[in-house]
Every structure is written in C-alpha cells, then in structure tokens.
C-alpha cells in the first residue's frame, strides 16, 4: 500500500448536475471515510417571500423554485392549499394532474439523458476504452 493513502485526505466532489449549487466534502483516513459534509451553496428564501402574500400566489411563485421540476413543485403547492382549504379534488382533476406530472417526467428523462448525462456517458465510454 502506498504511504500516501495512509494519511488523512480531504476530497472535494464536483456536483455539476445541480449547477454547482451543492458541494460534498469527504475526509478519508486510510481507506475509511471518517467525516462528510454536504453544503448547499445557494439560498433564495422562497419561504420568506411567501410570508404575508395571498395564499394563491404560491401557485405562481412556488413553481419558479426550479426550472426542471416546476410542475412537481406546483403540484405540492396545490396539495398544500387544498389541505388548508379542505377542498375536495374532482377525479378528473387528479387525472389531469397525474398526466401533467407524467409528461414532466418524460421530458426530464429525455433532457437528463441527452443534455446533462451526455458528458458522463462519453466519460464512461472513455474509461471503458482506456481500461480495455
């Protein structure tokens, strides 16, 4: 075993799939992870912005949390409002929501595979090529 691996090392991991807004740091001693940190590097305070506003404004503001999963955020905001108002949902309403969520999932799968994950696939193939 090389002597370098015995010492204590801090590893910073790149989180490029979340636009760099998350940092992971690991401390490795020998071959054991002894400590780990997860740092969210961005704060926007959506909860504070919603304080004092009309409850229905959450339907406009909450989906803007994320450009990828806006519909999921909207569904959560709607569910929260319905719980507060104790409003029953029409069966067809639930179906439309499920369809919207499914459409978003399909779109995200495509986006993830062909835009975000593309690099990783090439990197992976490269590693395979070098290894073989």
């Amino acid at each position: 075993m090389p002597p370098k691996a015995l010492g204590r090392r801090t590893i910073k991991m790149e989180m490029n799939r979340v636009e760099g807004d998350l940092e992971i740091q690991l401390e490795v001693e020998g071959h054991t992870v002894t400590d780990a940190w997860c740092i969210g590097t961005m704060y926007r305070g959506f909860e504070q912005i919603l304080v004092g506003r009309d409850p229905q404004d959450g339907l406009v503001i909450t989906p803007r949390i994320c450009g990828i999963c806006g519909t999921a955020q909207l569904c959560a905001a709607t569910a929260a409002l319905e719980m507060a108002y104790q409003a029953p949902i029409a069966p067809n309403g639930s179906r439309i929501r499920n369809l919207c969520l499914m459409a978003e999932s399909v779109m995200n799968d495509a986006r993830h595979t062909f835009l975000s994950q593309r690099l990783t696939i090439w990197e992976f193939l490269d590693i395979q090529h070098i290894g073989g």
Binding site: N16, R44, G45, I49, D54, D57, R64
Partner: protein, 216 residues
Amino acid sequence: LEPPKVLAAIIARILADEQELTLLCVEGSIIHGPNGTGMFDTFDGKPKRDIIRALCHKADYVLAMGTCAAFGGIPAAPSNPTESSGLQFSHEQPGGLVAPQWRSKTGLPVVNLAGCPVDAATMIKTMGSILQGVPLDLDANNRPCIVRPCLSDTSPRKCGTAEKVGFSCYGCIGATFPVSKPLFRHVEHPEKGKPFDPNSRKTALHDGWRVSEDAA
C-alpha cells in the same frame, strides 16, 4: 453542461483576455446577501456576483435571460431576504449589479429579455439579430421590442388571454413582477352566459399564440 473545474478554467481564460466572450447570457437574479457579501450564492467559495460582474466587463454583449436576471424577479420580491437585484435594474429602479450608465464593449446596455420563463423564440431571435449585426430596438426598460408574446404584438395591447382563462395576467415580463398585491384576480368572461361555440374558441386560441413573422 461543463463540469465546475472546466468552467472555472474557461472563466480564468476569459478574465486573462486569452479567450473572447461575445455573448454573455446570465440567468437568475444577482444575490447580494447576506449583508452585501454575496455569500448566499457562491462558486468555488467566491460570490457568483463578483464573477458575473468581471465577465460583464469582458463581454461584447450582455443578455439578461428572464425576469430574474433582468429585474430581480421573484427572489427580489419584498421582503427580498437575499438582497437580490437584476443585472442593470432592481425591479423598476435603474441600477443593479452594474450602474445604469454602464455599457458593454459594443456600447449596448444589458439587454433585458424579460419573461417568466422567457420565450424560447425571443432568446434565439435576439441572439440571432445581435450576431448578424441587426440593431436592437430597446424600450425604456432595455427590453428588445421582439419579446414575445406581449411586446412584439403592439397593435392589440391586451392579448385577451385573461378573459379566456378567467384570471388577469400577472405581468411576468414587467419590471415589477411579482407585485405585492394578489397575483390571481378574477376577470369577467366577455361571453359569459352565451352558448359554447367550439369554432370561435379555436380561432381565438390560435390568434393569441400566433407567431409574428414581421419581427423576424
């Protein structure tokens, strides 16, 4: 999507004048908090605000993509917990990350492509006209007049969608978005009580979303 290390290398090359920066597209509001340090939004331990400002000075054209980057948008809504602003505006007030009189290398202010989200055709059309050297027609808020769907259609100032859906427009291309009053306000349907006519509805929907080819 570039990994952060590759991105940091590109930024370093641009700041050292080793690489040209023609179009700088910024998305999202500029976070100055807490207490003006910018540490609510960091890249590699440094405030993203400072990196963006340095890049602005190196770019030929700076485009603010969306209402957040242009005017501050939702993160800058009262009570503005993160001390956010836009690139050259703080809501309707001139002055944000860069001063109101700031101009890019080519003499243009920050081009504000407002919208939440900004229309895809607007983005591509604006970038295309800039790269082809077509002069941009900017309004008082530095928005190009081809911003869809509202600004491009100057003849009917009201698109009529509000009456169709029963709620008023919440003005996402405006500098004051989101205003402090409730965003959902009921609008009376002009044809309330009339029998449903599928043909007229179809034409109306088609009219509301037509692409104005004259702006291309």
